[in-house]
């Protein structure tokens, strides 16, 4: 009996030591079913690689993301690793929430080797880098092959330049007797992806840049031709208008819009809807190609210190490894953040155009994405609803946005 007791105690001791020896880190992300399932599987794999680390996975609804995080900080119950939108990094850093990635672990070479060139810029704030993505998103042109056939256009040949885009859109637009659009040639929705297209793509194609290098000064107002091209689609060529069929996504999914510019995150929904669509790189202009990229990334919070910090570093490196990126594309449908992984999918008819777009993509550094989206929406509305000139509309928007930027940079003391 005594011996049993002794053995039992010994076993208990060993067990408890091994439990204590395990480092536990907490990972937070918002709830998106495929992502949650995939991460659960990845955590199992990670724990096999590092048996002394345990990862607790916590999810919550997207809508409450910031409130949840906000509440966790004073309570001291926050995560060690958090998945956040790259555009929120400045806010989280200035609030004292994130810690910079240690430079010895995440050198310039590490970034150059593992990520597209817009990634290190996108996760940088005031000279330091804060997060690593698993996957990225970019824009492309979706076109409806059936509607192309109906308009006697080659269903396998999407427009390659902005000029072709306009010509084809005109042929694809249908009107009723009163001149109302019943089928849009190209959906135009600044509140969707349209504002990114205007800002990072059209502005550059018409010979300008949307902001200065560190995104502290607005400069798109110098190329009103970019806005004019967009609003001409609505007012001159009349191939679509904002709010047609409610929005661009509904219009394209219900086959009432023949073309749309949208993100890689739409692929799954369109496949499910059973639409005969194709995906092409965004049309070029003046020989200039451009694209907008965005991503969610994993950052380390100030909660993680000592052993936990080491574990957190291993975990985010794991989540950005080649293998995880491949699994991510397969399970979640988002694009790999590493060009060498992306290379393998370049000939994929659906993912290929998005991946090629990543090579020349820019990730806007937002300080207040909603406010910055609003100014572009307003610029378009001013032109097509109020008849204000694109020059004036772009100028007014730039002034409002500049104030948003100035207030932000003033608040962080730069």
């Amino acid at each position: 009996m005594k011996r049993f007791l002794l053995v039992g105690l010994a076993v208990l001791l060993v067990l408890s030591v091994s439990v204590f020896a395990k480092v536990k880190i907490v990972y937070w992300q918002y709830y998106f079913e495929t992502k949650v399932i995939t991460v659960d599987e990845l955590i199992k794999e990670f724990q096999k690689l590092y048996p002394d680390i345990e990862v607790e996975h916590v999810t919550f609804p997207y809508e409450t993301f910031n409130e949840k995080v906000a509440a966790s900080v004073p309570a001291g119950t926050g995560p060690d690793v958090v998945n956040l939108y790259y555009g929120w990094i400045p806010k989280y850093v200035t609030s004292g929430y994130l810690q910079p990635l240690p430079e010895n672990e995440f050198s310039d070479e590490y970034f150059a080797k593992n990520f597209f060139s817009f990634v290190p810029k996108g996760v940088e704030f005031m000279g330091k880098r804060y997060a690593l993505p698993t996957a990225v998103r970019s824009l492309a042109l979706f076109w409806n092959k059936d509607l192309f056939k109906e308009a006697r256009l080659d269903p396998e040949r999407p427009p390659r330049t902005l000029q072709e885009l306009v010509e084809m859109a005109k042929r694809l637009t249908k009107y009723d007797k009163q001149g109302n659009i019943v089928q849009a040639g190209l959906a135009t929705q600044p509140s969707g992806q349209g504002h990114h297209w205007i800002r990072e793509v059209l502005t550059r194609q018409f010979g300008g840049v949307p902001y200065n290098v560190d995104y502290t000064k607005v400069t798109y107002q110098n190329v009103p031709a970019a806005l004019k091209f967009y609003t001409d689609l609505i007012t001159v060529h009349k191939v679509g208008y904002p709010g047609f069929m409610n929005n661009d996504i509904t219009a394209f999914t219900s086959q009432s819009a023949a073309m749309n510019i949208d993100g890689s995150f739409r692929i799954a929904a369109l496949k499910k809807a059973g639409i005969n669509f194709g995906v092409a790189e965004l049309p070029e202009h003046n020989g200039i190609k451009s694209n907008f990229a965005s991503f969610w990334a994993n950052g380390i919070t100030k909660n993680a210190t000592g052993e936990k910090l080491d574990a957190a570093i291993k975990f985010i490196k794991f989540l950005s490894s080649d293998r995880v990126m491949e699994i991510w594309l397969e399970k979640v449908g988002e694009l790999p953040a590493n060009p060498s992984v992306a290379q393998k999918y370049y000939n994929d008819p659906v993912y290929g155009p998005f991946l090629k777009g990543l090579e020349y993509a820019h990730a806007t550094m937002f300080v207040d994405e909603i406010a910055q989206r609003q100014v572009i929406m307003d610029a378009v509305d001013k032109v097509w609803l109020k008849g204000i000139s694109p020059e004036q509309a772009f100028k007014e928007s730039a002034e409002v946005e500049q104030r948003v930027l100035d207030n932000f940079w003033k608040s962080v003391g730069k």
Partner: protein
Amino acid sequence: MKLRHKKILTAYLFLLVPLTFFAFIRFYPMISAFYISFTDWNIISPVKNFVGLANYVKIFNDSVFRISLLNTLKYVAYGVPSVIVLSLILALLLNNITKLQGFYRLIYVMPYITPLVATSWVWRWMYQKPPTGIINNFLNMLGLPTRSFLMSTTEALPSIVVTTVWIEVGYCIIIFLAGLQSIPKEYLEAARVDGANRRQLLFKITIPLLNPVIVFLSVMQTIIFLRIFTQVYNMSDQGSGGPLNSTKPLVLYIYQKAFKSFDMGTATAATVILFLIILGITVVQLKVLNKKVEY
């Protein structure tokens, strides 16, 4: 201890539960909102720096805040009289019907009991341009020019008012009917014997006696229109209160500042302003409208 005292004590003991609840759920956040309006809190940061009246100066210099304030007043000015007059007329008509009264009442109250988000979206679709919008399709069929409705900076706000009136009328009718049925028939009969015509009956007897109901409904409807949010959020593109801020009410401004721009300081400052407006208007309404009528 006397039994009476015991009873009182017991009553307070039971009251303590809802009182504590109210203190923590209602009053504590209210007071803390007042406090936050004097700070630069950004929702994530644990630090709240005291900034004095800076947030108030900031919002009054913000043209979007001024537009939202004006829009809110427009919602009240267009909405409240329309709801009260329309529901009073309908209630008077319904009061005369003896057959199927319950059925009609159900029909009118239907919009009110339907979830607001659902009604907003149905109206949003009805207001669409052809080929989806049923109203415009109808105009089209009659050969009349189509309208922009929610896509126009001048028509969008009235369009949302129409939807809200359509929703609120049902509730007001029910309250008016209850009020009408509580007017003693003797008064009307006595007046009729004295030779009063229908017009006089309405304006000299019925409406004055309905005054408490009218006051109650005006105050409630004013508050409802001052706090308008859900309809606008669901009926404008991406909940923006557009086009060009033309439909944005104060509450949406507050929501965007707080949960989109994370600027809790200015959001709570705007909340305090809205609170003062509601308080002011309600006090004035109660003073002006609440006249005792006795016969």
